[in-house]
Every structure is written in C-alpha cells, then in structure tokens.
C-alpha cells in the first residue's frame, strides 16, 4: 500500500501530469472568476449591494448542488465526506469567509468601481502565501530562488496595489466614498486569503473539491442570508427588495454560477499545484477583469492619462508578481512539505493513509464511484427551473455594453471550460 513519503518513477510522471493540469486549471479559473464579477456592475444602478450578494450566493448555492450532481453524483459527495468528516467544519467556515468577503467586494465595486477594486482584493494571494508559510510551513527548507521569487513577487504585487490605490483616490469624484471602497476591497482580500486555510487543509487530505465545495455552500448561504436580514431589516424587507428588483435578479444569479465554475477550477489548481502557484495564477483574473471593465462596460472613460497608466501599470505589475511567485516553486521540496502537512492531518484526525495518498494523486480509493440517482436529477431539474424562471423575468440593465467584446470573452470562457473539463475527466476522473 502506498503511504505518504513513498516515491517512485511512476509517481514523478504522475506528478508532472497533475502539475500541468493544475496550471491549466489556474488559468481557466482566472477567466471564469473575472466573468463572475461582471454582474456586480449592476450595483451602479441603485440596487442594494446586499441584494446583489444574496442573489449571487443563491446562484452559487444552486450551482454547487447541481454541478456535482451532473459531474459525479450526490452519493459520491457524501461517500467522500465520510473519509474526513472534520473537514465539513472547514468547508462551512470557508463559505462564511467567502460570503462576507463577497459582500465587501460589492461595497468596493459600488464605491471605487470594478477596475479599481478588483486588483485590491486580489491581494488575497499574499495573505494566502503568508498563511501557507505560517501554518503549513510552505517555504520552510525551500531554496533561495524560490524564496526570492515569492518575496520579490509579493513586493511587486504590493507596489501594483499601491498604484491602484493611488488611482482610486484620484478618481474619487466619480463614485464617492473612495476610502470606504478601499477598506472594503482590502477587507475582502484578507477574508478571501484566509479562505485558503480551509482549502489547503482539505486538499492536503486529498478531499475531492466537489465534496468540499458542497459543504462550503451551507456556510455561504447561511452567512449571506443573516447579513441580508440584519442589514436590510428582516425577512419582509428582504422580500420587498427582491420583488422590487425582480427584473435584474437573474444577472447576479448568473454571476454566482460563473463563480462556481471558476472556483471549481481554482480548487482543482489548489489541489494539484498548491496555494503558492494555484492562487496567484487564478488571481490573474484581474487582467481579465480589466478587459471586461474597459472593453465590455466602457469603464475608465474620461479620466486622465495618468490614472489610466496607474491602473493598467498596477494591474500588470500585480500579475507579473503573481507569475514570479507561481514559477518559483521547487517541486520536490513542495511535495515533501505536502507530505509532512498531510501526515499532521492523518495523526490529528485519524484519516486513512491510503485515502490521502491516492486522492492527492487524483486517483480513486475505492472500487469505483457511486452511481447517479433520482436525487441528482431532482437537483439538476430544480436548478434549471430556478435559472429559467428568473431568466424569464430578466430585463437587460440600462447600461452601455459592447456586445462584440461580450461575445468574444464568453467564447474564450467556453473554450477553456471544455478543454479543462475534458482534461480533468481524462487525468483524474474529477477526483
């Protein structure tokens, strides 16, 4: 039986294959996560940020239950969870972190705009690397090139964030509340960055991302419901808001769906190449976000050339820093650290070593997965019904949208979805 710590030539070949898959998943995640933020543009048409966040999380909730049903079946999710039941706690907590962070991003978008807020909350990869170093000993014993790459990349990202912040303060007149927007965006970055602690914990144990993210939904749905009820003034007030805004509810719901696809790719990247490479790669979504903002929504028009230079230069610097971090990982020391971290989990929570080893390699521990049942078809049908009903009520928001660029970016997302889905199925069977 293979145990963590054992290593063969076959393992190394498998690791290279999983590495390439993880890198591709990180890039695919970037495209989809950027697309998911586009519907939050609706907050500029006087819709409560809490209503937008609630609908986005509802879309994510519906998608998270229906997509695993489509891909592997719900029975497989519960069967996987029985191998490491303690991770349900971290799944729910990660959902709470995401829902709170997502609500903050909506305040940030409203106050300083998508193209300015986006890079600020994408500083979450720095937080993730910090937690990885402190809690999972990711950089301990690493070569100096890797340390230089990570620390240098982090400094470049910080410089980029400063440039963006400067641009945010100069464009204050266009949105108002710039300081509040910057605080909200940085707070979201801290929450999203800390969300990688549960992610990391789940994937060093080998859990399937589809399983982990299913429990994540309970945390995110419960948190956003409580936030909406508390801040809007109770269930009646929330219902009145939803009814009043029914014509736009579909768009954040769609954003939630896009986010789930992006996050699934991000989680597979985290599982197969770790936080230090997977998260910075998926955080290049800020560049795609900039394309959406400028090409599709026509943001940043009428500002000075200096502000354009700060925003674009800052975004490019942040992406370059992220790439430096992504490319500076020393594979063997990282895999060695993964095995040590996995051993801690096995010792503390009494997890089957065979399960951990096989799942870390993207293989199935049992004699084949559970079959899809009637409950899966009910979940899929309910999801289609909810999306269909809200889609039928939807009206296109009254804002200038460049349809040709919208189609081009959507096509790019579709291509990486098909390519990524086929690769995940072939190499790991979505494990």
């Amino acid at each position: 039986m293979p145990v963590p710590g054992s290593k063969t030539l076959t393992d190394q070949g498998r690791q290279r294959k999983l590495h390439r898959l993880g890198i591709f998943c990180g890039i695919a995640a970037a495209l989809w996560l950027a697309g998911a933020e586009a519907p939050t543009k609706l907050v500029t048409v006087a819709v409560s940020p809490l209503v937008i966040s609630f609908m986005m999380v509802l879309g994510a909730f519906v998608s998270r239950w229906s997509l695993p049903a489509v891909i592997r079946g719900t029975a497989d999710t519960f069967s996987d969870a029985r191998n490491a039941p303690h991770l349900m706690v971290w799944g729910v907590m990660a959902g709470c972190l995401w829902a709170t962070g997502n609500t903050l991003t909506i305040f940030a978008v409203r106050d300083i705009g998508l193209s300015l807020a986006f890079p600020l909350w994408n500083s979450n990869s720095l937080i993730g690397i910090l937690w990885g170093t402190l809690l999972f000993k990711e950089l301990h014993g690493a070569g100096w090139w890797r340390k230089v790459g990570v620390v240098g990349g982090a400094l470049v990202i910080f410089t980029g964030a400063l440039l963006i912040s400067a641009a945010a303060s100069t464009s204050q007149g266009t949105h108002g509340g710039a300081l509040r927007g910057v605080i909200a965006a940085l707070g979201a970055g801290l929450l999203f960055g800390s969300m990688y602690i549960p992610y990391r914990k789940a994937y060093i144990t080998g859990m399937n991302p589809l399983t982990f993210l299913t429990f994540f939904t309970f945390g995110e749905m419960a948190t956003v419901t409580v936030l909406a009820l508390v801040f809007l003034g109770g269930p009646l007030a929330l219902w009145r808001e939803l009814v009043a805004e029914r014509a736009i509810l579909f768009w954040p719901l769609l954003g939630g769906f896009l986010w789930v696809v992006g996050d699934l790719f991000q989680n597979y990247a985290t599982k197969y190449v770790g936080i230090s490479r997977g998260i910075p790669l998926s955080n290049t979504n800020q560049l795609w976000g900039l394309f959406w903002a400028i090409l599709v929504f026509g943001e940043l028009r009428g500002l000075s050339g200096n502000v354009y230079a700060q925003v674009i230069g800052g975004s490019l610097l942040m992406a370059a820093g992220a790439m430096a971090i992504a490319l500076s990982s020393a594979s063997e020391s990282e895999y060695s650290n993964w095995r040590k971290a996995a051993q801690r989990e096995m010792d503390r929570y009494g997890i089957d070593p065979a399960y951990v080893t096989l799942r870390m390699e993207g293989r199935e521990p049992g004699p084949g997965r559970a079959r899809r049942g009637w409950i899966d078809w009910v979940l899929i049908g309910a999801a289609l019904l909810i999306f269909g009903a809200l889609g039928a009520m939807a009206r296109a928001p009254r804002m200038e949208i460049q349809m040709a660029w919208l189609a081009a970016l959507s096509l790019a997302m579709l291509i990486v979805l098909i390519a990524g889905g086929l690769a995940l199925r072939r190499v790991t069977g979505f494990s």
């Binding site: 039986m1 039941p85 303690h86 706690v89 971290w90 907590m93 990660a94 709470c96 972190l97 709170t100 962070g101 609500t103 903050l104 305040f107 937690w131 809690l135 509040r180 605080i183 909200a184 707070g187 801290l190 929450l191 800390s194 969300m195 602690i197 549960p198 914990k201 936030l227 801040f231 051993q343 096995m346 010792d347 503390r348 929570y349 009494g350 997890i351 089957d352 070593p353 065979a354």
Partner: protein, 42 residues
Amino acid sequence: MRLRSESSERPRSPWKAILGDVQFWAPFGVLLLGLLVLALIQ
C-alpha cells in the same frame, strides 16, 4: 478495511481535535474581523 495511523498526539474526541487546532482559530478570527468591518462600513 479502514486503516488509521496511530499517534499519541491525537486528541480523544473530534471536537477537541478541531478546537485545539490553530488552523481552525486563524480563519475564524479573520471571519469575526471581516464581520466587524462590514458592520462599520454598512
């Protein structure tokens, strides 16, 4: 058959293992901080 690694460091109950884990308290603390920030800027 389910094999488990044995360790003298393993807490007796799952909840004790979770509540004694710094990897639980770090994100939980950040969550409380985030909720505070949200309440202040709302």
